[in-house]
Symmetry: C2
DNA sequence: CCTACCGATCGGTAGG
DNA sequence: CCTACCGATCGGTAGG
């Protein structure tokens, strides 16, 4: 009878759906995230699940948003105390490495953003693809800002193009995700740290 | 009535199916490669198509094999005349860059191997996942062989771990595929060439 | 290569 | 949140 209790329970159910949805999408992609299978996993009906989102697309967007929050908490927040520039860049990369190495609970199938980017990169523009692009652009810009700061402060060689650093950094982490997911290579985190250290070597550290 | 003519026609039909299947899979993944849609595109019946392969899985494996042949012709063969070691490594990277930049006819949705790797990396072992792993391992080993040759010949710094070079090389090309497919970034091929040149810099070229 | 069909599952709706 | 249902599509088969 109490509307507060019912609203709180509905909220908790929604949380459970999104959490499980993120895990399922990390394994099977946002396309493989089907309403029937997710409802079955959670022991609720399809229409009960769909009532929280309206459409599958809204469920996919909710999963993306949640993944973004998890990524932000695991990678950006731990580095937020470091000095802007090279120090923060290195802290972000270290947190990112640990995150791809260990975060199996929320993302049992690997980084959802990599999966979603590859899954939607050849699709026509639409709400989901646009959200994937927006998220990738957000992180790119955050990385770029710290690279620019580092170059301006003389912490990185001034002849390096900031965009070039970001391009290569992203590649290192794509390679890490690939090595861990497809080959289960236990040496991949160490290779990532080596590559990052070499790329982000200061002008006097050569 | 002539069995030769009929066999030749069947072969041509099979070729058309595989070719179109590779293109479809590069856009929608090997999972999104559905028999009904492919048959509709080609103007034949589902059962007519399936008669050439038996199962969807066999169709997926045929598409992977074809993609491998295309990749081999576009990336490995142009470099086959170069000297083993650093020279061939650089030639392979140049052909690979051009391939990801231009190969829109066979792979309108980008490199099928990247798509397939991300799509199947969290799946249980099975014929398709195993084939994806095998193909990736084949190219890894070819790259590794030339890196080892280059290090042994003193063309690359001897303190570098050959596996480290391969790890970083793959990352550069993942980043290229990502930039081209998700952002359509026209500067990505140039960034790739810059990154490769820096990674494969000889000991006396620093 | 075809038509005609199978059971299962898809996203989603009606009505409670 | 439920049951009961919708049309569409999935991979695949029977029989020619």
């Amino acid at each position: 009878m109490s509307p507060r209790k019912s609203a709180a329970e509905a909220h908790r159910t929604r949380e459970r759906i999104v959490e499980r949805g993120v895990a399922m999408a990390s394994v099977d992609g946002l396309g493989g995230l089907t309403i029937g299978r997710l409802a079955g996993d959670l022991g609720i009906s399809k229409s009960g699940l769909l009532g929280h989102f309206g459409t599958k697309e809204a469920l996919q967007l909710a999963a993306l948003r949640r993944a973004s929050e998890v990524f932000s908490r695991a990678v950006w927040e731990p580095a937020s105390g470091a000095e802007p520039g090279l120090a923060r860049l290195r802290a972000v990369c270290e947190a990112w490495t640990t995150y791809l190495e260990r975060e199996r609970a929320t993302f049992p199938g690997g980084c959802l953003f990599t999966t979603a980017a590859v899954e939607f990169d050849a699709q026509l523009p639409g709400p989901v693809r646009d959200a994937v692009v927006r998220l990738h652009q957000t992180w790119r810009h955050r990385l770029l800002a710290d690279v620019r700061h580092a170059v301006a402060a003389g912490e990185l060689p001034g002849d390096g193009d900031p965009e070039q650093y970001v391009f290569e950094l992203l590649g290192i982490f794509f390679s890490l995700n690939h090595s861990v997911q497809l080959f289960g290579d236990p040496a991949a985190p160490a290779r990532t740290r080596t590559a990052v250290a070499r790329l982000l070597r200061g002008p006097g550290e050569g």
